[in-house]
Symmetry: C3
Subunit: 439 residues, 3 copies
Amino acid sequence: MEGQWLHGSNTRCTPSQGQHGALGPYTAGSSSSASGPGCRRCPGGRQSRVLHREHYGFLETMAPHLAGKALVDLSNNLKKDMYPEANAAYLQRLVPGAAVVKGLNTLSAWALQNGLLAGKQVYLCGNSAEAKRAVAEMSTKLGLTVLDKGSLSAARELEDFPLQLFPEWRLPLSVAVGLTAFFFFYLLIRDVIWAYVEQGKDISYRITVSLGNKVFPIVSLIMLSLCYLPGVIAAFLQLYRGTKYRRFPDWLDRWMLCRKQMGLIAMGYAFLHAIYTFVTPTRYSVQHKLISLVVDEMKNNKTTPFYFDNTEAWAQDSFYMLGILGFFLYALLGLTSLPSVGGSLSWREFNFIQSKLGHLTLVICTTHGYLYGWNKFLRPSTYKWYTPPGYMLCLIVPSVVLVLKALVILPCVDRTLTRIRQGWERTQPREEMCKATNL
Amino acid sequence: MEGQWLHGSNTRCTPSQGQHGALGPYTAGSSSSASGPGCRRCPGGRQSRVLHREHYGFLETMAPHLAGKALVDLSNNLKKDMYPEANAAYLQRLVPGAAVVKGLNTLSAWALQNGLLAGKQVYLCGNSAEAKRAVAEMSTKLGLTVLDKGSLSAARELEDFPLQLFPEWRLPLSVAVGLTAFFFFYLLIRDVIWAYVEQGKDISYRITVSLGNKVFPIVSLIMLSLCYLPGVIAAFLQLYRGTKYRRFPDWLDRWMLCRKQMGLIAMGYAFLHAIYTFVTPTRYSVQHKLISLVVDEMKNNKTTPFYFDNTEAWAQDSFYMLGILGFFLYALLGLTSLPSVGGSLSWREFNFIQSKLGHLTLVICTTHGYLYGWNKFLRPSTYKWYTPPGYMLCLIVPSVVLVLKALVILPCVDRTLTRIRQGWERTQPREEMCKATNL
Amino acid sequence: MEGQWLHGSNTRCTPSQGQHGALGPYTAGSSSSASGPGCRRCPGGRQSRVLHREHYGFLETMAPHLAGKALVDLSNNLKKDMYPEANAAYLQRLVPGAAVVKGLNTLSAWALQNGLLAGKQVYLCGNSAEAKRAVAEMSTKLGLTVLDKGSLSAARELEDFPLQLFPEWRLPLSVAVGLTAFFFFYLLIRDVIWAYVEQGKDISYRITVSLGNKVFPIVSLIMLSLCYLPGVIAAFLQLYRGTKYRRFPDWLDRWMLCRKQMGLIAMGYAFLHAIYTFVTPTRYSVQHKLISLVVDEMKNNKTTPFYFDNTEAWAQDSFYMLGILGFFLYALLGLTSLPSVGGSLSWREFNFIQSKLGHLTLVICTTHGYLYGWNKFLRPSTYKWYTPPGYMLCLIVPSVVLVLKALVILPCVDRTLTRIRQGWERTQPREEMCKATNL
């Protein structure tokens, strides 16, 4: 074990070109580590010996020469579960005398060669501590941060890393896409098709901007409230069970695990809503409407044409103010979701931001929604084809979440919940005893 | 000391629920580390034995069994300074034979169980290097990054970590809130109340948006200049003292330490100012004013109604351009304040961004402020009730900072300052000698 | 070697004051590490002994006392290549018996003293592993993350770190400045000067905002396409050569290395373009034009004054929608460029974002550009002085990139390229043999 490992990252494909090569281990002479990531073309054919998993079998014949040496498997597969066992485990089985280390498979040769990897975290696993230390030392010299993932049984996990594609974003994205599609078609029918059928007007140009600017805030508010709904459900479940020592149901656990992603998607939609709002006054149709208003006004020669409605001004300005504050808080929540910012917060700070400021954001955005429809609520013309407008539908979930949250923070409920979360249990004296006596 | 530690994070409350349990140490059989964060309910009552600090006393009876074992204290208190000594120190006193390690108290069981902790930094302290290494190894296996904080005397510091709530933000936030309140009431009196008293007009709707859009830029500019004021004060202090080897007064040190936070608050206010500006043209009152202008114009049938004022167009467009550039630079400064971005900059780069670009931002935003009032300065109607308008007040501090900074970068002053900062001292030959001879 | 190192960071200048002191090594008694960063003023003249490189010579006389001790050189120079050898190498030559460790030179004493360095990465290098370990241990206790850069021959690299000023941004910034200048003058001539010469109108006020809002999107789109051009050039080069094992030409390598910076500059310009657009409706000249339109309309008393053009509304709203989506994707790409976000993505995720979403952004922004000029293309008035408008020029590069990219992803081409990138070579059987036989 004299620092001999297999080095092959210099033949990996470039990261910008979307290919995963199924790269196998390299064997190398005792000086391979010194040659480092510079050798790309193996002029004498000495160093760059690529082996795909399919050809590992051939290494069996080399087993005697490899005995006692560290063998780095940096191969990747083209898709998950292609083979019954991990490449590295297979290699170890073929060459039992060598110390196989799985790792560095998440690096690209091109980035390595160009020094783009400073501080990047890489994973290693293997059964030989000595071999892992040798590989870790080399990696550290390359500027990488090494994380030991344990024995070779973790190799499959490491081989799956480069194949992951946002697993934790799947559920939130599906919810977002579903809600977007539903509200898009709902509003398309209520606005554009209704106007065409009932009034014979073609306002189809509204599909691109006006409709978007209704769908985005609606989905944003619902997604934001879906962030905070599992928290109150969990609280009520704990209150009902009288203990915190029972696992939540799986669906609730999964839901709670993707709250961050839900919040970020909600922020993305809020961002789109904000920009759509900002460009509104420059739109042709909006300017046309404004001009038509003036011209009609003049032509009809009304005497008191432009009564300034103070209530309307108050309502609309408050509506804007709440929207802006809500967006500001959204941005703050998003900022603290960044790994580097969130990681530098203490637990209490993170909790303050994500729970206190998060609920404040929900309150402000919900009020923003209520203010939008404050004077349209009782107007019959609001209910085209007997359907409620979109903003009413989107206020249901947030209102429910806020009412439930208000119940949870009532002093009497809060006290019980705090005791439960500190370990107190209501109806299970056996368990309490277990704790007191079993030490 | 065969890798036996106390493992109890699986009964911590979830991070989303705002509770700090006062959790005590766990004792565990020799296999506790293997059971890991999966066991939540201790079916046989064997592993999950929670002890609050109040019950530590009972561990005294166990002392013989714990001798020579690593004992992890992951307890937290509900508030600071609840007890005269740190929980871990108290525990060590009770069980002198065990090797108490304080740490992992900043983790939540729920996050640990769900693998949300990859790369999170945790702190350890303890008197036994061996015990610390054992705990550090386990933590590394869990994907945590361990930072050794030294002997057990650091335990109190670790116990205070989860209770911190933005200590470094207190002073900047107080200043910001104070300035905001002052300017809000000042402008409320000058604008809304003045109009009501003197002209009998109710323009109270302006409170939400118009007033906000005056207060935010004012406070933003003042906060930004307060970022750069301590730097020039420090420079003048060094020039006056003729040395850099004397401590700054405490108030200046504290001020310099919260410059980053002041800058970020200034950026937040600038962000609000920008959004308020963007929504302005969609506001009811603004559109009403525009329409009224046209209608009045038409009714009165003026002949040359809309003379295009080229100077006005130039001034206003320059005003916007400077505002946009200033906001862009603000965003750039904010970006480089992110830990992950700032950390990847070299010292000279960071200095270039935060000092050169920072002062440029101040120059641009101050000019933006001057341009706002360029043609209102000498109009008597500007001075309602003999008070200057808000934008004039807010230009005082930035102007002073820029003048002082201009003095500092004068070649002759700059040369002296550079020498002082390289270690040269003006009037203290004794010190110079001390350096030359004392080696 | 009993943990004795030289400790001098407490006399470094503060990072806010833009000075690099040429600081030399400190010698210290055996207790210097304990005194730590607290001592600033050396009351008894015992510890803070600053030595600039110029005075290193004097250490030669101390050599016997320093033998076997670790000597930390934390000096910096005022500019690159001031001296023929690194300060640390010079020091080692002077005191051959001591174990010189270069490092910590990127820290500032002020930040160190105020605890602002938690987690900051520092570099060490030196020939003695033992001395490096001692310094690394002390650094870890200070909360720093240490990265060993190898032997003392790396000292020059470490000394150059604090002097770097965005080396990887030079090329992209030059391209951006060049393009900006070219398009600024091109549009200045076509718009402002043309109007003055041909129509006698002074529209010079447009320089600040209108012109900027043309230059920024143009340069942004070109920079974005320049991000993706080297990728397709590389693909065609690999197809032509039939192998991936030959180095790209240097200019292509350099270009590929600054794609991230080019993308970020493109994003900055897109950001400016967005804000310029948002403030457009509040501008004096825009409002003046709107009002003039209405007034002229009324005065001339046309009968069908405001025909609503449905096609125009569709085109303009689609134009806005694409612009907003493009900007949103830009923001997403920018977010994943943050070190902390990008670092937490798997290779496939990063590739998905930067390649798939990146090309989608380019498609959307290019379509945004085409829609801008959809109905002006064939109008003769578009070609003032026989020159094409700016938006036409800026569409050339993106269109070429997209056509080339479309060719690359044709199934037949893509298949060959994938094989090449997996290691297959077309015309070099000798090499294949080399691989098969040489193990």
